[in-house]
Symmetry: C2
Subunit: 350 residues, 2 copies
């Protein structure tokens, strides 16, 4: 049983704690969140299935400096700058870290110096750090990359993630601007509070590992305006208001678009799906019918990445440098996976 | 530039040599094949693009005992027993090896003792060994496994590979029984010469890494008999004769099918595709429209796996224990990938 240090107990952090305990691979021994309304509470009072001996929530990492842990999970912010002090503290302790910090998926894009610093620190202490999630982290980067395993001469990559936001959490619906007028939408974009973070990171992750040279890139964002009244968790959405958001990132070489990533999420969006097309030999046309539910998927991939980051060497990693992440086996009470015979376990890794 | 030892110069080995040189990641320095008709010939006389200084083909590995190499590629046989002496020789030299030997995808299924022996040898010498290919190696094992990254509670896995064999090589069409009568087909199955090797390996690979316990498994094989005349590279296929083969592997637990893998390849097979369905939370329904061309895909994934096996620690590996394989960047003449800026290369692995 791994001793897990959980930092961040928002909706995502709480779902992660619950799934972690369901898998049987670890137990939260320390929980940190800056929200004063939960500080001092037992984790079990916040998360239904919080393990055998849920700790009290503390307000800062400094308060768990003396606690032993095997791995840390960080679900606090999309911003690498905001997460950096936490990452540095944990790496100083030599810990492996999985984080949903969107910019950590490919931190060299916006924070090259900080990435170099984190990598050097991790190599020195044996700590390991990887950013993951459903998106960025899987659907628009890791999956397209893995799909090229059978390809040569990759000339272009097109990824679409088209979501019906009707079934998503209220914070997600708010984040994508549901119900806003076009002017309100534009103001929120201008102040930086309405944006899916990670499209540029996914684009540069794919470009980097495939060696697709890009000499320019751009990202656009616009509301998806409804023509008919819609029902959302935030109330009725009137015609002329935003049902959600469409963002497109384009990577260009010599005026030609070599990578295109389109993200659309809106109430009542028809034909939700994820699609990856690779212009290569052979070409790849991969479709995930119905798409993949985002909140659940991010919860699961974060926990599922723990065994892979545990096995990685010290350093700043990406989803392309740790072994492939997959659903962790549900463990039996004796600690062995449901499906594997002990003799096989001993013989192979993972 | 990696110095590559190529063992096996059948159609697949030759395509691999060509793709390897096109990528610029390595050059064949030694080539081995037991076929007397090509022994002593220059590799350049057999493969159009065989690199700057193509070696002479030798008949056995013993003849290249003194040659320095960085990595070996083995494309000789589906049988692990047949390949074992070659693997042992190469592992004794401490070499990383990528092989298309189908049974090597998950060798614990049929050769547990030999697998343990190869693993121990590799750990001792620092050698590394992995089995790959399009199938087994990717479509029916690695891809389904990776697709579960966002899942919990995996209850079942269904994989279909439905191929139109019309565009495949003559040896492939012969292998799947094109043109045989049902009796001839049955005889070839009985003598073991007509069978796609690897379905059981794929099934147990998926079961093992997902912890899907199986208490029984079976594999069936039958001809796909045409009702109309068909045209194949082997000549016309008359009604009542085999257009190809259908194989199904089932993994059962307590009488319930938890994994099903269906492989069908036939001349004129309608709606070719690859499909992966995961019964989990969230469910996954992944479709590769049109399917993936097998000969090309195996060629590419074998070479694309070289950087990943180079980076792995000593031991017997699988596609689940080396970092994710993806299309290798085409290198510029100066040795740097087309798309990556040198500063990024220095900072991250892979």
């Amino acid at each position: 049983m791994l001793r897990v240090l959980q930092i961040g107990l928002g909706p995502l952090g709480r779902m992660i704690v619950e799934y972690l305990h369901a898998t049987g691979i670890g137990a939260v021994v320390s929980a940190v969140d800056s929200d004063p309304s939960i500080r001092g509470k037992h984790l079990g009072a916040i998360v239904p299935n919080a393990g055998p001996t849920p700790p009290k929530v503390v307000g800062s990492l400094a308060e768990v400096a003396g606690e032993a842990a095997d791995v840390a999970v960080v679900t606090t912010s999309s911003s690498l700058q905001s997460c950096a002090p936490t990452f540095k503290d944990l790496l100083e302790r030599g810990l492996p870290i999985v984080s949903t910090c969107e910019e950590l998926l490919f931190p060299w894009l916006r924070h090259r110096e900080l990435a170099t610093e984190l990598d050097a620190l991790a190599r020195r202490t044996g700590g390991r750090l990887v950013g993951t999630g459903v998106n960025p982290g899987f659907l628009m980067d890791t999956l397209p990359l893995v799909a090229t395993a059978v390809c040569r001469d990759v000339r272009g990559v097109l990824v679409e993630r088209i979501q019906d936001a009707s079934t998503r959490r209220i914070p997600f619906q708010r984040k994508i601007g549901v119900g806003l007028t076009p002017d309100e939408f534009a103001s929120k974009v201008a102040e930086g509070t309405l944006r899916h973070v990670g499209l540029g990171e996914s684009l540069h992750f794919v470009a980097h590992y495939l060696g697709l040279r890009i000499d320019a890139w751009s990202e656009s964002i616009e509301p998806i305006v409804t023509g008919i009244p819609l029902v959302s968790s935030l109330g009725q959405v009137l015609p002329g208001r935003a049902a959600g958001v469409r963002q497109v990132a384009s990577g260009m070489r010599e005026g030609r678009e070599v990578i295109r990533m389109e993200f659309a999420a809106a109430i009542g969006q028809p034909n939700p799906h994820d699609r990856v097309r690779i212009d290569a030999d052979p070409p790849i046309d991969l479709l995930l019918r119905g798409g993949v539910h985002g909140d659940k998927a991010t919860t699961h991939i974060t926990v599922n990445a723990i065994p892979a980051i545990m096995d990685a060497p010290g350093g700043l990693h990406t989803m392309a440098t740790i072994r492939p992440v997959h659903a962790v086996p549900i463990l039996r009470r004796d600690g062995t996976p449901e499906g594997s015979r002990p003799a096989m376990q001993g013989a192979i890794r993972g």
